[in-house]
Symmetry: D2
Subunit: 115 residues, 4 copies
């Protein structure tokens, strides 16, 4: 299965062929990340739980495309800022394991500082 | 290097241990995606190009953590909606290769429908 | 009751006293607008309809504060871009009255281009 | 000049004629607020300071329309949650006057907790 590294390589080739690095300053790249996340939300707004369930089945491809857009920018930004995103996710999960201890957090949607 | 699949597995174990699946409806998960993307932006606001360059060097860990949060939700949502995110990214890149033909798009930050 | 103009005047006095105009470029101001809107959302995430109803009653002040932050940036941006926001809202409502004709749109959450 | 109250009244008439109150739960309304704020940002992305200056002059109407959309949702939400938005903005400005004392905050884009 694809490694993160291969995906990043492909994204960078795509960008280099188009000479787009010049536009990819961190502020605008972060904006893209946010704008694409908004497009994911767009699919679920004004819909009830039942409507969403049906919608997901009939629009899986479209939602997948929006999620791919978000992933694209996460990987590109990690690359440009020289961040090892696998390592970052690993660290964050460890941190959350500490913050949300199983015995306290189980079954609760409470922020760690209120547990 | 880590595959996407292994990361997803780890995220799902983390969630199952805390019995949090019950809260993860698509609308609220999409909101998390968007809220975490906003936290990435937060690092770059009100800063000039030069300030951002310095900031990135001294805050790489914090930015990496925010990007990891976004990745966390992309992977969790893909899993829950039964979307193959690798395949989705692959398709999206192919689509963008079509939309942004190298000879037309090179060196321009113009939307494909205005090229 | 307060007019929009008086509110804008007060915001501009607040800013001028602090000499903050130099930071208020349109991109960063638009970011503030979006970040404050995210803080409004934050109040409603992970909550069921019933939980939200209770939450609103006990957190009216906090939510009002976030909405005020959004309004602050709408008014400041309108001012800086020399946009008459009252006129803009008036025009937009007229446009929406056209797009969402009562007989077609009544009781439906469908986008105008799908009505 | 228009008072906030008159604008709210008009928005509510527009909504009632279309029988849309049934869809306007706080979570989805907050989403609208955020999605419309994203559309404001969209106008400024990938553009340099100089490009933005030109763009604003030639696209004032479009930007005004997006700001009007944000204002629409701020006013509608205030109304539905029974929040006096004028009073909320007044309180917030007073609070910010305290947090950002002129002698400390003048000419600085530093968060109050770091001043």
């Amino acid at each position: 299965m694809a490694t993160i590294k291969k995906l990043i390589d492909r994204i960078i080739v795509f960008r280099n062929e188009r000479d787009w690095k010049q536009f990819h300053n961190p502020k605008d790249v972060a904006l893209s990340l946010s704008l694409e996340a908004s497009e994911v939300i767009d699919h679920f707004q004004w819909k009830s739980k039942e409507e969403i369930e049906k919608y997901i089945i009939s629009h899986k491809e479209e939602i997948g495309e929006e999620l791919a857009d978000v992933l694209y920018w996460v990987l590109l930004m990690s690359h440009d800022l020289n961040i090892d995103i696998i390592d970052a996710l690993d660290k964050k999960l460890r941190k959350n394991e500490e913050k949300y201890q199983i015995d306290k957090a189980k079954g609760k949607h409470t922020k760690y500082n209120k547990l």
